[in-house]
């Protein structure tokens, strides 16, 4: 299915439309609806204007304007942008302006993308609703009383609302896929190491990956191809060239083997309408010629627990540097310890503090083996179970999130209920595998539902191939 990324880039490259016109149209939409949605922490019209003019100049002069020529893209506000504030939706980074661009930002800019703004998020990417932002929540464009999911809620909402043709988010435990599902867009988390993390403000380094949001599977694959590839500035970046994520698009799914993860379809709190859509999706793939069967991946049940040891542990260390000494917020104190305490107490929100404390505890002397060490062993177990499954299946299928978008405030009082949102997405982060959420019809409340396609490491081509088939088969509108 042709999406706006492909369509805009083609039209701009062929001189059918100017990038500045495309930008104006998107800025117009932002002007009209952004006050309701609040997808952005900062709209960067000036930056975007200069980039669009440069693209138009390149086209006029016959130079190659790049594969994403004139495509308006929104960036999650934890991607460093040189000269443009990067806040992570936190007070603690108040006043900080990065002196450098993230690698993905450089790659998008070189491809001709036009940056319309920095999107709102849960503070430091910790959350599943974008309510944990120091700058107020983002609302779901499909229903303004609902959350867009999180933590990349602003990036998902920006695409759903037509503020940008594509956006980037980061996914540590589902932070791209879950908001994609709740906002009715495509969102992909690539294989760990496929996309450079240089310039991504870290939440949990061993789990974080940057990935695209777009309206169509092909658009998402196209953006992923631009941002992926080895980067010598990220030691965990995979060496060598990888096949294009788009390389298997248009091939259909005949003969592919698809396993539907029983433990996730039947997970605690799974809404019946979501489970029903996953069954429909499975049936659609079967009808398209795939061999579809239920499969058991037993250890995914422990994913959530392991994740809430590993991610906070790494976060407690990654977030130590926000101490008021060098940049960002500083609250004075009588001595250095008081300054640290005052700065971090004022700078971080409740959810960040909760996870920093959890992680600090998990790494403490005497507890390491019982918590962090054990969680790492669960991680190994999950990888092994996935390996077993992928011996029999090309891809796996599951729901993305247990429910459709929920009301603002519905889950903020109970962190554990909020954490359950990520039960289906976390296993892929723990394994380092790719997964994508594809819109597949709506729930009984009329809100979007996402189906998740999981693939083994570097299985992006087959993952997008199956995602494209789901996209083609997805019910249009209406309740299940």
């Amino acid at each position: 299915m042709t999406g706006p990324v492909e369509a805009i880039a083609r039209a701009v490259r062929q001189g059918e439309v100017r990038a500045v016109e495309v930008l104006a149209e998107h800025l117009g939409r932002i002007a009209r609806t952004e006050p309701d949605v609040h997808a952005f922490n900062l709209v960067t019209s000036d930056v975007a204007g200069r980039q669009a003019e440069e693209v138009d100049r390149a086209v006029a002069e016959g130079r190659d304007p790049g594969p994403l020529a004139g495509v308006p893209v929104a960036l999650k506000d934890l991607l460093c942008t040189r000269g443009v504030p990067t806040t992570c939706s936190s007070r603690v980074l108040e006043g900080w302006v990065p002196p450098y661009d993230a690698t993905v930002v450089t790659r998008l800019a070189e491809a001709g993308a036009v940056f319309v703004g920095k999107t709102n998020m849960d503070e430091f990417a910790m959350g599943s609703s974008t309510e944990h932002s120091a700058f107020g929540p983002t609302r779901n464009p499909h229903d303004l009383s609902r959350v867009p999911g999180g933590s990349s809620g602003g990036s998902a909402a920006a695409v759903a609302a037509g503020f940008a043709a594509a956006s980037l988010g980061s996914d540590t435990g589902g932070s791209i896929r879950q908001p994609a599902a709740l906002c009715g867009v495509v969102g992909a988390k690539p294989t760990y190491g496929l996309v450079s993390r240089y310039g991504l403000v870290a939440f949990a380094s061993s789990l974080d990956q940057i990935g695209p949001f777009a309206l169509t599977v092909a658009d998402a694959a196209m953006v992923l191809d631009v941002i992926s590839g080895h980067d010598e500035r990220d030691s965990t970046s995979l060496p060598g060239a990888q096949p294009s994520a788009s390389s298997r698009l248009g091939r259909g799914v005949a003969g592919l083997r698809v396993g539907v993860i029983a433990e996730l379809v039947g997970a605690d709190g799974m809404a019946p309408d979501v489970a029903a859509r996953v069954e429909e999706a499975a049936a659609a793939l079967s009808a398209a010629g795939a061999r579809v069967e239920p499969v058991s991946v037993p250890s995914v049940r422990y994913g959530l627990s392991a994740y809430y040891m590993i991610a906070p542990a790494e976060a407690s260390s990654n977030l130590a540097r926000y101490d008021g000494v060098r940049y960002g917020l500083r609250k004075p104190g009588a001595d250095i310890t008081e300054m640290y305490t005052a700065t971090r107490s004022a700078g971080f929100g409740a959810e960040v503090k909760r996870r920093v404390m959890l992680g600090t505890y998990a790494l403490s002397a005497g507890y390491y083996d019982a918590y962090y060490g054990k969680a790492q062993r669960v991680r190994t177990l999950i990888i092994r179970d996935f390996e077993d499954a992928y011996r029999s299946y090309d891809v796996l299928l599951s729901p993305t999130a247990p429910t459709t978008a929920f009301e603002l405030g519905a889950k903020t009082a109970d962190p554990l209920t909020m954490y359950l949102n990520d039960v289906c997405t976390i296993p892929s982060n723990l394994a380092g595998h790719p997964a994508v959420s594809v819109p597949f019809g709506r729930g009984t409340d009329g809100l979007p539902i996402g189906v998740q396609v999981l693939a083994p490491a570097l299985g992006e081509p087959v993952m997008f191939q199956v995602a494209e088939a789901l996209e083609a088969a997805a019910p249009t509108g209406g309740a299940a």
């Binding site: 240089y198 030691s235 790494e314 130590a320």
Partner: protein, 486 residues
């Protein structure tokens, strides 16, 4: 100050030496690794720990770490970097990237000039911190009015070399640091400058009654910035612990700060010390697995190390490897001259003595000397062949060191030439004839008179006689003349 410790007690020491590596750039970024630049000029997003930045390991630093490991006979292994978490403003990330349970180098040893082998538990890689200057409040952060931080040093590569508790007393600790420094400089890993902080020594000290084997409770001493302060600190701390124990109290395991001014160690405030570092594997770096080929290449390229050089000099000269002369000559990098004498067939033992005494003395006076090996070997040969007396040879050597030239020319210019043995014999005959009463007494067994005759020979020859040869001639003549008839 005693080198071995208080009477009846044994002082047990283990040292942790931090060695800054002489790389062009820092451990995880491309910033220059230079000492003494304008503060905060050699910095970038990575070594400032800016949000979003990531470390990338410097290959040159690994190379130097491997050299250190192999030079210390360590096992080089696949290793993992960890984060050591604690808050301090000299650490941009509020954690230090270090190695924890799997260091790159483990289980080696260092041979001291005495021949003793000191165990090396590990020699691991880590990044240096920045430098803080606390203004006001006696230089401690919690009392300071304000603090200044320079991040030029943040991220400079270090190797921390941890010895086993194998050292006994301040002198041996000092000997260890000197030997280690020599090895680090020889490998090219370090410039060895303690005064610039390139080498920093922390010291674990405990005491135990002589004859016992159980280790006592140790204290870690920090802030010693010279070998002299290391010796003083160890001596002070050992005496303090003995006093604590003999008074019936217990030594408390703690970190103590050496105060150069008052010559004591002081317990650091617990607030500054009570850290739980919460080590965990650094997720931004991958396992460091140097290939066997790399390790072999590093090993093949290692220079000959001091212990081996001492062995060579000892073998060539017939001296013991642990002798003062041998270790002096190696320490001063003069051992090539011994080996040159040896390979030219000259008397290497004589060469060693001249180098360890006269040349070492000249070096101590002048700071540096240059000595042409061929000229030096020729001089040794001249002395060995009796062409020059030892006194004459010393004078020529002094000249050779000061201005250079050919020893034969120098000797000629100075009019130095040993008498031939025939000439010397006739001088001896002459002095015996001239002093018959003294000869009679000497021949009768009054050996003191040998000095009298040697003095006469010296006077008669204007110092150009080999006095040792003259002594032998005198004694020989006495034994030939048979026992006294009186």
């Amino acid at each position: 100050m005693s080198g071995t410790g208080p009477e009846g007690w044994e002082v047990v020491i283990g040292l942790e030496v931090h060695c800054e590596l002489r790389t062009r750039t820092k451990l995880f970024c491309g910033c220059p690794n230079v000492f003494g630049d304008e503060p905060n000029t050699n910095v970038c997003p990575v070594c400032l720990g800016l949000p979003g930045s990531l470390p990338v390991l410097n290959r040159e630093a690994v190379e130097l770490a491997l050299r250190i490991g192999r030079a210390l006979h360590c096992r080089v292994q696949s290793s993992v970097f960890h984060r050591k978490n604690y808050f301090y403003p000299d650490m941009p990330k509020d954690f230090q990237i270090s190695q924890y349970d799997v260091p790159v180098n483990a289980d080696g040893w260092l041979e001291l000039p005495s021949g003793k082998r000191v165990g090396i538990e590990r020699a691991h890689m880590e990044e240096d911190t920045g430098k803080t200057t606390h203004v006001g409040g006696g230089g401690r952060i919690h009392e300071a009015t304000f603090s200044l931080v320079d991040y030029n040093r943040a991220g400079v590569p270090l190797v921390e070399i941890v010895s086993a508790p194998d050292l006994r007393g301040a002198d041996e600790a000092r000997e260890y640091v000197e030997e280690l420094r020599a090895v680090l400089v020889a490998t090219g890993a370090s410039d060895g400058k303690m005064e610039e902080g390139s080498l920093r020594v922390d010291c674990n000290v405990s005491v135990r009654p002589e004859g016992t084997t159980e280790l006592g409770t140790r204290c870690e001493i920090k802030n010693m910035n010279s070998l002299r302060s290391l010796s003083r600190a160890v001596a002070y701390e050992a005496a303090r612990q003995v006093e604590v124990l003999t008074s019936g109290a217990r030594v408390v395991q703690e970190t103590r700060h050496w105060d150069e001014a008052d010559g004591r160690t002081h317990a650091m405030r617990s607030k500054e010390e009570a850290f739980d570092y919460r080590y965990f594997p650094e997720p931004d770096l991958v396992t460091l697995s140097p290939s066997d080929e790399w390790i072999s290449a590093v090993e093949a390229a290692l220079p000959v190390l001091p212990a081996e050089r001492r062995r060579r000099v000892a073998e060539a000269s017939g001296e013991a490897p642990g002798s003062e002369a041998v270790s002096t000559v190696v320490r001063l990098d003069l051992d090539d001259l011994v080996m040159a004498a040896s390979s030219a067939g000259a008397d290497a033992g004589l060469a060693l003595r001249r180098l360890a005494n006269e040349v070492a003395g000249a070096l101590a006076d002048a700071g540096r000397v240059s000595l042409d090996p061929a000229a030096f070997v020729e001089l040794v040969r001249m002395e060995q062949d009796g062409e020059l007396t030892p006194a004459q040879a010393r004078r020529v050597l002094k000249e050779l060191v000061a201005v250079g030239g050919a020893p034969r020319d120098i000797a000629g210019r100075l009019g130095l030439r040993s008498l031939g043995s025939d000439q010397l014999s006739s001088v001896v005959e002459q002095v015996v004839t001239d002093n018959p009463r003294e000869w009679e007494r000497f021949a009768g067994g009054d050996d003191k008179l040998v000095g009298f005759f040697v003095g006469k020979v010296k006077a008669a020859t204007g110092g150009n006689a080999d006095l040792r040869a003259a002594t032998e001639l005198l004694r020989g003549r006495r034994s030939q003349s048979g026992p006294s008839t009186t």
